[in-house]
Subunit: 356 residues, 2 copies
């Protein structure tokens, strides 16, 4: 009796970031967008035929795929959709990393990669970032079973250019190279320009509507790749769950992509605030990396970042601290509104005992 | 070069059921509910604070869990949520079926079970239904690595009582027993009554909002089990994707569960139409199983069901035909509205050359 316990999956639960129902919180810990979704996305929800929710969503979500394809200048057969980019990445790991050689990614990067490797029993090897916290493409010439590179990288916020991506692709013609572009809209050129070229059929680009499109609440992720890669991804997805994206997300997501003006406006505002936040932190003696994302990564020679993180929490300002090797005296701060930045900077000054 | 193709997952794509954008179609092929969702669920969407979609959904979805817990008389720690019950079942297969012994399920059942077994490399053994297409609990006394039983079974539509469930649980104290209740609201007592008992901690009950709650478009599935099973399921889910259910689904799902009156009204209407449909098909010479679901399963001694299925398609009436051993002269028909049933019966009579 109870022998069934032997067959349970033993896995260390991944603990998602802190959340709070307190609306007073200045929430700069989840890289959410401080601005609302496109009014056109909201209008698409409001004018939806709610009675039709009794039907399953179109399993191909062609409408949303077409909008994304147009935005990136690729074909609809080059687009895959999932329930947030975590879903897309988890499916891509299962679809493309079935070899015996370890897959390669940086030592400091998105903390879900090793979790998926454990979950799907994929061997992996990490390559240390340089002292400047940048990825050295030469490291990735070693034989591997796949490559995953976030651009910009997280939590470092550092973005790389198209030459870097092309090097990665050229060094790894025998592997699928995933470029995770969760934050790309805030400052790097998308690798999507290589997707429809016959030259790099080993490229998969992933993206999300949760950051630049202010739709974290609707769970929309996507991938771009050559038709063969996308069809394998579709087969794996359809062996898992046929209908991952719901009908309202398809409608709102499509309207969001079509509203390019609002999209660019929001990104411009965030970049402006990022510039200001970076400057003000540097004025206070912080080392702040040049960010290509909607967050900044910083440290300070004279203060313990863990303490600052905890102090700010008592002041209802939530930022992110990672108790991890090499970055255990760093903090990650989401770029919020200018008003949120005022509060953040004021509280940091209070902590440091600097006059406001 | 292109050696990456060796590492691709080789899997036969699962092809989801036929869909059509033609609004003329009488769509009785996906077991969708013919009635709209609860007006309260729709109101919950309309009155949602759409600006808050910029934030991630609460990853625990406590509000929806609490409503489901109350509905089934269990604790919130006994409830798990997923992106439709396919997502819940796929995660449960990964969480609970990690032994070497084959898991057990009927030969005629939900066609996704073998797909997940292949996907997650789980050995399985199927047990033939009796000649009456019923499951014999005695078959499941054989040692196994887990048991999956849909109640009612699909596509047979046949439901079993609580004694049957208790037998299954008693015969399999060393396995996790999953009772898949996608269609239970239409005619069987839920096994949820055993969930909070210390007696059967090996039970997982799964359910969906896609059928009885008319919310297929929003992708909400759930599972009920003892706190230990649920916590393993949460750990696996959090190793895959932290935020599976979106904010609008949480709001609409909660309102749906709280509107018990509408829920019972819709189910009553479907049961009435099911009774009528069963009677009229039998009057036309069909053998129709007594259904506990929102569909009927039927055959006819004098006609080829595949032909009838194809004929009806030309008349814009979509039903389901499975070209599978033992049931390749059967059809599955979703119970629609009375008006849809009028059209269906009229076209069947036309096919048979019976006067309308």
């Amino acid at each position: 009796m109870n022998e069934w316990k032997n067959n349970l999956r033993k896995i260390k639960p991944y603990v998602p970031g802190e959340q709070s129902k307190d609306s007073d919180i200045v929430k700069l810990n989840a890289n959410e967008n401080p601005y609302p979704p496109s009014p056109k996305a909201i209008e698409a929800i409001k004018s939806f035929d709610f009675n039709s929710l009794k039907k399953y969503p179109p399993s191909d979500a062609a409408q949303l795929k077409a909008a994304i394809a147009k935005h990136y200048g690729v074909g609809i057969e080059n687009v895959f959709l999932g329930n947030g980019s975590d879903d897309v990445l988890a499916l891509a790991f299962q679809a493309f990393f079935n070899g015996d050689k370890p897959i390669a990614y940086p030592d400091i990067t998105y903390s879900f990669y090793p979790v998926w490797c454990e979950m799907f029993k994929i061997p992996y090897k990490t390559y240390p970032l340089g002292d400047d916290f940048r990825i050295n493409p030469e490291d990735y010439r070693e034989e591997n079973g796949g490559v995953v590179i976030p651009n910009p990288n997280a939590p470092t916020s550092i973005g790389e250019d198209v030459d870097f991506i092309e090097k990665m692709l050229n060094f790894n013609r025998d592997s699928v190279v995933i470029i995770d572009e969760a934050y790309a809209d805030f400052g790097v050129q998308s690798a999507a320009l290589f997707v429809d070229s016959d030259k790099y059929n080993n490229l998969l680009v992933t993206g999300t509507f949760s950051k630049s499109r202010s739709l974290a609440g609707l769970r929309i992720g996507f991938a771009l790749g050559c038709a063969e890669l996308i069809s394998v991804l579709e087969a794996v997805k359809n062996s898992y769950n046929s209908y991952t994206i719901d009908s309202l997300s398809i409608a709102a997501g499509t309207a969001s992509v079509e509203d390019d003006e609002y999209f660019r406006e929001v990104i411009d505002k965030i970049i402006k605030t990022r510039t200001r936040l970076t400057r003000e932190l540097r004025e206070l003696g912080f080392t702040v990396f040049d960010s290509s994302a909607n967050f900044v990564f910083a440290t300070h020679g004279e203060y313990k970042m863990k303490e600052l993180f905890e102090y700010l929490k008592t002041k209802k300002v939530f930022i992110r601290y990672f108790n991890l090797p090499r970055i255990d005296n760093h903090i990650r701060i989401t770029v919020g509104t200018d008003k949120e930045t005022d509060i953040l900077i004021r509280e940091i000054k209070n902590y440091m005992g600097v006059n406001n």
